[in-house]
Point group: C2
Chain length 396, copies 2
């Protein structure tokens, strides 16, 4: 099939920011795209050829959407997997596969998958309900401290908690969950693996998530990671093994811990373009979004090396501000060398809401890192109303 002429249709489940960024490259290659998203205001409503509003978790909606496309992909994992399985049986190419998504959607089966495939990961226990954890502790099968994770749709910050004593358990939802050994780690790393159906395989360089020393939040994604070569090679090997285990087609972002003993443990994976690869738009020979298209369309993979070093900073809503968004000092950061803001187009900000990201590229990594800090100290995502300060004027 020739993707570069008519009659081919690519379907994307989810029309959020990742989908929007993928559409830049489908437009570049003139690929006909159909997008399904629950929100009529989804960022991808522009730039795709056909836009449909519908529930990604509804079996019939996804089947009806998918049967009209040749290749179907996702930009969010939380979709109806039974529908994907039906579509696969009907001959639609679905990447990532329904099988991979089913494994990944549940943290408990995801962890089992790693164990079954001899992929290094933190020790864990599985529980049908949070309430069963008490007993395991009482029996001596589990020791404080540990990390509690909801098995389904538990994303960082919402479905994860460090449990240090019984009282930390009381507020948790009584759902299917896992507990994980709390691993002291030196670095959080990520590797994006790209693979097409022919089995052609490439990895992006290892990136490093630099955490804020106090807030324990990722502040910078840094490419390449500032780690020794042998650690980078080890992380790359683990990522490749993980992608091979899934027989994955498309991008697989593998998030890992480098422990204090320099072990590499897989934390979790995302079978799609990922926040840890946003730097690639400006820094890499082939952006992760173009690579995803190359993978799922069976095209040759592009060069994953970097032209220059890259640092990525997430733009999140400042504390104390809710309402119509203002990007304070955006002119200041636009005047800095090699700085590119990506504004996601959400009209309303609220504390910690992800509103965009900024990439900083430079021939010199340390210089990029310094400029990234200036960016972070300059720009503020605020609104006209300061919730903390409603009696006086806005403090800018």
């Amino acid at each position: 099939m020739n993707y570069f002429s008519s009659n081919f249709k690519l379907g994307i489940l989810g029309g959020g920011q990742l989908g929007k960024m993928m559409l830049y490259d489908t437009r570049k290659f003139d690929i006909y795209t159909c997008v399904l998203d629950p929100s009529p205001d989804a960022p991808s409503r522009l730039a795709c050829d056909e836009f449909y509003v519908g529930d990604l978790l509804d079996y019939q909606t996804v089947v009806d959407f998918g049967k009209n496309v040749d290749v179907l992909t996702i930009e969010i994992e939380n979709v109806n997997v039974d529908a994907l399985e039906t579509l696969e049986k009907q001959g639609v190419k679905v990447f990532p596969s329904s099988k991979t998504l089913r494994t990944i959607q549940n943290k408990s089966t995801q962890k089992l998958f790693y164990r079954d495939h001899n992929i290094p990961t933190a020790d864990f226990s599985r529980f049908a309900y949070t309430s069963e954890i008490d007993e395991a502790v009482d029996n001596g099968g589990l020791n404080y401290p540990f990390v509690w994770k909801s098995a389904r749709f538990g994303y960082d910050g919402t479905g994860v908690k460090v449990v240090r004593s019984i009282s930390d358990l009381t507020d948790l939802p009584n759902v299917e969950c896992i507990t994980e050994k709390l691993i002291p780690f030196k670095n959080e790393l990520a590797v994006i693996v790209a693979r097409n159906e022919k089995g052609e395989l490439k990895t992006y360089p290892v990136v490093e998530m630099e955490f804020h020393p106090e807030a324990n939040q990722v502040e910078y994604v840094i490419c390449p990671a500032r780690i020794p070569d042998d650690i980078a090679k080890k992380a790359e090997a683990v990522a490749l093994k993980t992608a091979a285990a899934f027989k994955h087609v498309g991008l697989l972002a593998v998030e890992m811990f480098q422990t204090e003993n320099d072990e590499i443990l897989v934390n979790e994976v995302a079978p799609r373009p990922h926040n840890s690869g946003h730097y690639s738009i400006e820094a890499s020979y082939t952006s992760q979004f173009e690579q995803q298209i190359r993978c799922i369309l069976g095209l040759p993979l592009g060069n994953t090396e970097s032209k220059v070093a890259g640092v990525m900073v997430n733009l999140v809503g400042a504390e104390g501000y809710t309402g119509d968004v203002i990007y304070k000092n955006i002119d200041t950061i636009l005047a800095m060398d090699g700085v590119t803001p990506h504004i996601y187009g959400k009209k309303q900000t609220r504390p910690f809401r992800k509103m965009g990201h900024v990439t900083i590229v430079n021939k010199d990594l340390e210089q990029a890192r310094r400029i990234a800090q200036e960016v972070k100290e300059s720009i503020e995502v605020i609104s006209t109303i300061n919730n903390n300060d409603t009696n006086s004027k806005c403090n800018n």
Copy 2:
């Protein structure tokens, strides 16, 4: 005004390929865009917020479109300039200005402008009608060979002819025109100047148009140009002088000849993103399209330097093929290092029709140039029907 939140509208006259590429960056910055184009199938119909079909040369259509936007720009020079003047009086910011466009739209006034502003350009004569040229030759005021150019809407290949004898004049249209001294030149160069309203000014590196030795057609645009530093500095100075003379806001692509005596002569200018700057998407810190947006919105200008060397090859329809387009061997070029095709999405090819371009980037310019040649020798823009060979099977 904050361009990064609601209520701001950018208008673009023309929805062709240049407009489409500019829209990638308006989307990145979440800028609200309105596009006017005569064709309902224009490439920009996707990715803009509001798309209107209408005649760019009709006064009322352009005024009606423009009065609803805050900043108005063009992606094609051939628009109604009286309408732009009206809009400027009504307070719409129009970049390039109506005055600049009026000067540029007519090659005769464009050449006068260079002479009046002491900008080096090839000697020329102006004629109200082609039929008046004979007399000038007879009077000894003009000698063969010379270049004939139609004053209005004369673009390369359609409104230009080298005249070596009286017989070459007979087929030419009897229109307003200029004749230019035929200049033997070593190189054709171009410099893109970026300027915002505050007068901040940057230039992209000098690029070189490498011609096919026989066909006399631009084959490669090469950045940076393989010329001595002093010539590059001279070309840059001439380009800056030209932009200053226009008091230009936005991008100005200045095409120049490097004569055999190493003089720099301005050939013509384009007040917008330009084919000679397409390489910048992959090679530069700031692509020409993002830079155009920065210029016309009064934002700080981005870094115009290159991350890596770049070579651009135009994709044109192969001779002998008309009909539904096929990009033969596109897989072959996608497997080459640092190669990015841009497919413009025209469904029908015909001989020499511009169907896309390919950028080749590499740390090493000579390597990029070699790969560019492989690209050119591999890919073919053909169709299912070979006009030259209708009795036998298609020769692939």
